[in-house]
Symmetry: C2
Subunit: 308 residues, 2 copies
Amino acid sequence: MPELTTPDTNTPEAVAEPIFQRLVLIGLGLIGSSVARAARETGAAAEIVACDASEAVCTRVAELGIADRVEADPALAVASADCVMLCVPVGALADVAAVIAPHLAPGAILTDVGSTKISVVRDVGPVVPAGVHFVPAHPLAGTEFSGPDAGFATLFQGRYCLVVPPAGTDAAAVARVVALWERLGAMVEEMEPAHHDRVLAVVSHLPHLLAFTICGTADDLADETRQEVLRFAASGFRDFTRIAASDPVMWRDIFLNNREALLEMLARFTEDAQAMARAIRWGDAGYIEDRVLRGRKIRRSLIEIKQA
Amino acid sequence: MPELTTPDTNTPEAVAEPIFQRLVLIGLGLIGSSVARAARETGAAAEIVACDASEAVCTRVAELGIADRVEADPALAVASADCVMLCVPVGALADVAAVIAPHLAPGAILTDVGSTKISVVRDVGPVVPAGVHFVPAHPLAGTEFSGPDAGFATLFQGRYCLVVPPAGTDAAAVARVVALWERLGAMVEEMEPAHHDRVLAVVSHLPHLLAFTICGTADDLADETRQEVLRFAASGFRDFTRIAASDPVMWRDIFLNNREALLEMLARFTEDAQAMARAIRWGDAGYIEDRVLRGRKIRRSLIEIKQA
């Protein structure tokens, strides 16, 4: 197991030592294919095996040459692996986990990259065989593009990866998952599943819900007006459509699997939006200015901590 | 007056011919200072006069050397100008117009760059003296930065500028304002004030309202959680804070001066967000997927017409 606190982990020798002998990636979309590329570039795994439910994706991954081996059958793919990473939409995790569980090697680490964590612990936890270590994780990185061509090796550099082990998880297994993500360039933090889901609801899931919704609101306008919405999209709307271009199945699954936290954050947001509407209707200039200033303040804090 | 349809308007000689002899800019923020820079670079005006209510801004504009003359007194600044462009927040337009109106030269063109147009026609129209041509306009360009240092000459290139003349405006005056914005690099379209305000409500004002509001919602969370909202800001939230970093006074004035259209668009949006919340609560996967797909569709259309 690599030494996590060794100051010279970035020297060529340290980088060359693989963290896993066989890393199996199930799901080769933006995240899975980026992990494949980053793991090869950093020598994080001696062998990288790719597995995807889509024949077209398997073919494309083979063409791209980003894995050492492509295996369409997940039961065969996970054989003898010391790490299996599930990179499928969170709604598909339960089925995939059930299929591979009987074939996982004793001592193997099972991890994932899902954006909701209570649901992952609930859906995957029960099928994990004794002797296999289940260490859920979530890299906070992505773009609005999807599929194996969209991935790139530097996607995780300087971004957070949250590791969310259920209580009682083997500490050595957690440390190896932490080491993997640090090798891929991420800043790793541990977090409880419920806290993870609330934080993500407000920083990511709600903003995406708002972006999808405003595009729908615009799409519902009469044909003539919709055309002009497109032609005259000022910067505000353009940014929202970029967010809204994300993968439909992935986001459908996130919304359905972080229901409670997301609905709570949407309710808080709606109260605040209604308060703003009331201030606009009644001409409460001070209130409006105060809300705009808060946006500025948050932006400045983000810039200060280098996350903007 | 320049020939608008001449194909060789981009030849050096054509560019060198000024559209106005003396262009007076009142308000040297992001937009005003960008107009100054672009007008000089394109030779759109023989002389550029800058005027700002802030002494600090006047000093800085003089230091930057982006105007031929800086004049703190608006009444003096507008003397003998053939074009006066008001680049102040829309809430300040009525007062500024009242101060300069008696000093405008006969035949001069008075224009503005405000983001709301019914209010501009209502506030400025009545004080415009006979013989002065009032031609409201609105360049759809900007960044989240403010002040004379934030401006740049290429801000308007390839962006739309909407010219919104009240009924009965002198056609030659409208053509000169169109020519000015085309010279500065914009694509110009004419539009009715009421239609302008509805289109802008959905493409710009509502997205900004949502971005300001979500920052406030996050700011209201407990200290400990807010810290994590900042640290773990995924791409969705980061983009929202960028939008939310805009100028507070400018946006306060926009919201108050496009009240009816903005409240209508917010009401439509809120209905749609509530429908999405209901779909999430009841697990209506098809509905959620459909809304996400609409976002994608709009994004694609924007890319096709090169506005993304």
